[in-house]
Amino acid sequence: MVKEFTVTAGAVLPHKIGSIKAVSDVSFSVGQGETFGLVGESGCGKTTIGRLIVGLEKTTSGEIEFDGTDISKLRGAQLRRRRRDLQLMFQDPYASLNPRMRVGSIIREPLLVQKIGSKAEQQARVQQLLQEVGLSPKSTDLYPHEFSGGQRQRIGLARALALNPKLIVADEPVSALDVSIRSQILNLMNSLQERHGLTYLVISHDLSVVKYLSDRIGVMYLGKLVEFAPSSVLYERPAHPYTQGLIDAIPEPNPTRERSKTADPIRGELPSALHPPSGCRFRTRCPRAQEICAAVEPPLVSFGPRHLAACHFPLQTPEPAAAATA
């Protein structure tokens, strides 16, 4: 790998009655041109990781290394320059575009902020971006409300691409869209990646979307990464009971299979992040939990090449070589 991002973060968001560790000792790396998916339920800290990486939040401790530099320590002008390489694609195409700006200005704004090119060059770039994301060149003079959800997500993608970023953090890129529009955006994201050698960090609660886009997937639960693996391995041989539960909970468009499911579903609700359970955080909802799970926090153990999971009673046999890092 040429480039590596290492995230080791312990973000403590200040809170009146205590502190919530939204992200707690998470480490992973993403290779250039790769798509890494983060999946988990709401409140697991996946969005916080995305915001930490693009610099919208500051880490409490730990570092985020991008292209050889620790970007979590950058300030001012240096940070601003770095942001060219890191762009965010938002979930809600209705809330993330300024309703009072014309589409042309929305896409041009990053170029203005970063002072790149003359006015004519910027306008030419806007035209080129519109074409890339499959919108008509006439769109520049229209306002966001004149577009549908899918088209707005294309505008968001064009804006994210304006500065030729290296990494795009896509936070729930298709959750707000209808099924027939979703596949258009997913296909577009894939083709843009091929054309520009983009690296994606895809964040979603929807395992089927993450699996479709990603090469590797990390599963998060209450601020911790509990398992990560290449995407096909994660689906075929999950080691963590939470991953298995998540896979079983996804309703499949197949009535015969859907009705023959017998697996034990995950019971109960997500515990409070303010007072996470001791030991393994998943133990309160885990069908396999025993005494040790409350006492000792399970370390990440290797289950094969690039496959790690943190569980005392995993569904697969771990490799003899004990704890490893990804």
């Binding site: 089927s208 996804i250 309703p251 859907e258």
Partner: protein, 331 residues
């Protein structure tokens, strides 16, 4: 046996300043007691408007232009507000998508549930609260007695949805309209709520109209499915039959565009070109024809009507061939 609910050629329009939206345009369906009918489609296809027409809960400017809605032996179209108030909550109950905005944030959940029992059953406050506790227990709320005094913001999304269901069930309705009941919830909680609905339906012998955009939710829970597109039913069949022998190109395209867990991820997803039509000016004749890859000249000269056998109907001149393998091969 006569069906519990029978809708015939329902047309629900919404008046707007300059145009009229034909949100529901000639929908017919029936549900028997104890049956779950799934109504599936994308946003704006009229599935919610169909459900809300039954309840007479239409947005400003919305009205039922034609058709009939029969619940048991009673005609609901044309019923006055006073009579409808008796039907709502008593005979027909509804669960909405977002439990936060559909619960009253200033009322304790116990009082909210008790309210409908007091109105419909003329129960005393004490009996109504007793009933509230009973239904909260029924929907699997842990420690129901303590929860009666909670306000909605003190509960998680999943528990709030349980309160909504408890409220809907408090007067033992014959028909439950579940409009995207799990869309706002996490997958693990979604599974719990769907299982709860299924179990309650069995136990109380209710009819359920399950409205959703999620083919996966439909696959597991519905006995029969109707696919809606642009205000019309385009295909109707038993759930297994629909997924295995889909005939309408829209159903096929919808299924092919969902990324599946068992699919190889380098495959390009099928995507339906274009956008759903504007329902104030729907395309003439077949409404899916501008986006359909099988469309022929006949499709914009004539309107396809629902045809096929009585258990599997579809509105298309060029139906998809009868085969399972096609879904995978769509490109």
């Amino acid at each position: 046996m006569a069906p519990l609910l029978e809708i015939n050629n329902l047309k629900t329009y919404i008046r707007q300043r300059q145009s009229e939206v034909h949100a529901v345009d000639g929908v017919s369906l029936s549900i028997e007691a104890g049956e779950t009918l799934g109504l599936v489609g994308e946003s704006g296809c009229g599935k919610t408007m169909t459900g809300m027409s039954i309840m007479h809960l239409l947005p400003n400017g919305g009205y039922i232009a034609a058709g009939s809605i029969r619940l048991g032996d009673r005609e609901l179209v044309g019923l006055g507000e006073k009579e409808m108030r008796h039907v709502r909550g008593n005979d027909v109950a509804v669960i909405f998508q977002d439990p936060m905005t559909s619960l009253n944030p200033t009322m304790q959940v116990g009082d909210q549930i008790a309210e409908s029992v007091r109105i419909h059953r003329h129960a005393s406050k004490r009996d109504a609260l007793q009933r509230a506790e009973e239904v909260l227990g029924l929907v699997g709320m842990p420690r129901p007695k303590e929860r009666l005094k909670d306000y909605p913001h003190q509960l998680s999304g999943g528990l709030r949805q349980r309160v909504m269901i408890a409220m809907a069930l408090s007067c033992e309705p014959k028909l439950l309209i579940a409009d995207e009941p799990t869309t706002a919830l996490d997958v693990t909680i979604q599974l719990q709520i769907l299982e709860l609905l299924y179990e309650l339906k069995q136990r109380l012998h209710m009819a359920v109209l399950l409205i959703t955009h999620d083919m996966g939710v439909i696959a597991g829970r519905a006995d029969r499915v109707m696919v809606m597109y642009a205000g019309k039913i385009v295909e109707s069949a038993s759930t297994v039959d629909l997924f295995e022998n889909m005939r309408h190109p829209y159903t096929e395209a919808l299924l092919a565009s969902i990324p599946r867990l068992d699919q190889r991820s380098d495959a390009v997803l099928y995507s339906i070109p274009g956008l759903p039509p504007d329902l104030s000016h729907p395309p003439a004749w077949c409404r899916f024809q501008p986006r359909c890859r099988y469309a022929t000249t006949r499709c914009h000269e004539e309107e396809p009507l629902l045809t096929g056998s009585s258990d599997h109907q579809y509105a298309c001149f060029n139906p998809v061939a009868n085969s399972v393998s096609r879904v995978g091969s769509v490109r």
